[in-house]
Symmetry: C2
Subunit: 361 residues, 2 copies
């Protein structure tokens, strides 16, 4: 298979961690007979420095023509970086918003997986963790309260602000289909999260999810209220396989879920469009304070590349290979500084990449 | 002081737990020279059984004329109870909504406190718990997305649902004042939670909170984004004193916070109106499955009575006395079945009430 990738190395630790992910992809390609062609584009601060804007039309066109986008992380220190003296629409993050919108990335997937070797970093007790948890949060990314009409006005001298939460059945159906599709590649269980006892949008959400579920007789599903879900993530994270939810609930719950793993440097993410196209990036930020020191943890980005193989190219075996390699390296006791603990072997970014490659060869 | 209370014993375990709370109040009254006069009113299933509706106008009038309302819990088993065959506006919970609205209860306070003796029930690791946490969540209860305009319609044959999130500065100011007032009675720190990087209502929220904060130079405050707060509750609950937030965020975060205590049978709550009026009730439900067996945990209701003394009557010393008595009984190893653990002494509802009274005498 020949995979044509747009690559955004980005800012801070971005270039270092993406380089390792590309090397891992090449190792997988060599072993399984795939070619990855990379076209690098600038986005975020790196693009501002060169072009004066966070994402040029040319860069966007290259991304659109690619099969998938692999990304590092963007942005800098918001208090000290000159990028944050610019108007909001010219700051690094505006590039990402423009990219997501232009590419129609409506489905955000964030796995929350507990590595047995990193159990001690999990804030939950061993009894709660049990034999670990492995869930993905499927969050709708382009609708709901974050994208609705909003305004602030004075009504009879009283300042009043209004935000609007709107979903139509098509927006709900396409994300529900993604969730059920992915459940099929996993433990075949979907928990759809809403607030259907109060919100109209949640009641429509629930109705459409039930319609979609009819086409997936092999996948079980249930509904859960968002406040209960926030409790259950802490109480019994093992019950979750795929969590399907709308934009704002997904924002809150996916962050909560990432925190209960205790190791955000390990967490990948994907944002998918209709069809197979997607953008893959680590859940963590650009960590400008440790950039260029070869100490960043490349694993989240490497696992994002594995997600890309799985979701954009249906290369499940190859994705498994990467995930297994990461587990093997952890089991051998290698750690970057962010996940370091007593008795383990501390390695840098490049060395961690190489160790994972050595497992694949 | 003479305190004129309306009492709603309610359904399920309600009558048992409220009875113990009243006995505790009487013990405090005897010791400190206060009189509590109780007028019992029916609400919920108990009212449906007698009057065919969950809250009569007569009952509501009595509540309005009282100084404060002490409540147990309402509702039954939603799958088996005949109350849930009724139309929504005649079900038990409709009585509570009507009561809250009629009494203008806009400020919901839920403490999340970790008792040292119940540490093992907390799902978080000992290192995360440290020397415990003690926070209250101040949730706006009558505005925002849960009370906005909503509708579902077909637009060009596509079902579309819309909910509206609206806040005006007066609604925000009155709840912010409550939060800063209560912080003054505590550790003098407010964390206001919003999504000001996206929502207009959150930006207005932040502005008004900052205006209110100017009148409280002795109280420190900061802003926190809701997704970060969902993480921080798990990561470091010790950092919180008073969390101030809007209705929906408060719904999610207060449930998450209650779960990290690990013992919901211990958690009180208050819903306050302008001035000193409030309704006080346990955070837990009516537990119809264990009703009438004298095994329910009355502590959440007893602590709600303590909150009533503190917030409606400014009887801080008397409230402290109840809270200290509860801690002493726990320290002595007495437990109701819901919080029972190895080596402890199991007691029933009445006996737990009596043990607390014995501490006060
Ligand atoms: Mg977030
Ligand atoms: Mg709730």
């Amino acid at each position: 298979m020949n995979c044509n990738l747009a690559v955004i190395k980005g800012d801070g630790i971005g270039p270092e961690i993406v380089t390792e992910a590309m090397r891992v992809l090449d190792a997988v390609g060599e072993k399984y007979g795939h070619t990855f062609s990379y076209t690098q584009i600038l986005m975020g601060g790196a693009s501002i420095d060169v072009h004066g804007e966070p994402l040029t039309e040319e860069a966007l066109e290259i991304a659109k023509k690619s099969d998938a986008v692999l990304m590092g992380s963007i942005g800098g220190n918001t208090s000290t970086s000159p990028w944050y003296k610019l108007p909001a629409q010219l700051r690094p993050e505006a590039g990402l918003l423009k990219l997501r919108k232009s590419l129609g990335l409506f489905a955000n997937i964030r796995p929350a997986y507990l590595y047995d070797e990193l159990k001690k970093a999990c804030p939950l007790r061993d009894e709660v963790i049990g034999d670990g948890f492995d869930m993905v949060i499927m969050r709708e990314l382009t609708g709901g309260l974050y994208f609705g009409e909003r305004h602030t006005e004075e009504i009879d001298g009283v300042r009043t602000a209004v935000d609007t939460l709107s979903y139509n059945e098509n927006e709900i159906r396409r994300i529900a289909i993604k969730a059920f599709d992915i459940a099929r590649k996993r433990k075949k269980h979907v928990i759809s999260v809403d607030k259907a006892n109060v919100l109209d949008s949640s009641r429509l959400w629930r109705t459409v999810v039930e319609e979609v579920a009819k086409d997936y007789e092999d996948v079980t599903y249930e509904h859960m209220l968002v406040d209960n879900c926030a409790m259950q993530l802490v109480n019994n994270p093992r019950q979750f396989d795929v969590i399907l939810t709308e934009n704002m609930f997904g924002d809150i719950l996916s962050d909560e879920a990432s925190m209960i793993t205790g190791s955000i440097g390990m967490l990948s993410s994907a944002s998918l469009a209709e069809g197979k196209f997607g953008l893959y990036e680590p859940s963590h930020g650009s960590a400008p304070d440790i950039a260029g020191q070869d100490i960043a943890n490349p694993i989240a980005t490497i696992l994002s590349a594995a997600m890309m193989l799985r979701y954009s190219f249906d290369l499940d075996k190859e994705a498994d290979e990467i995930e297994k390699a990461v587990k093997a390296v952890l089991a051998d006791g290698y750690r970057t500084v962010d996940i370091m603990s007593d008795g383990m072997k501390k390695v840098g970014c490049k060395e961690m990449g190489q160790l994972i490659i050595d497992q694949i060869k």
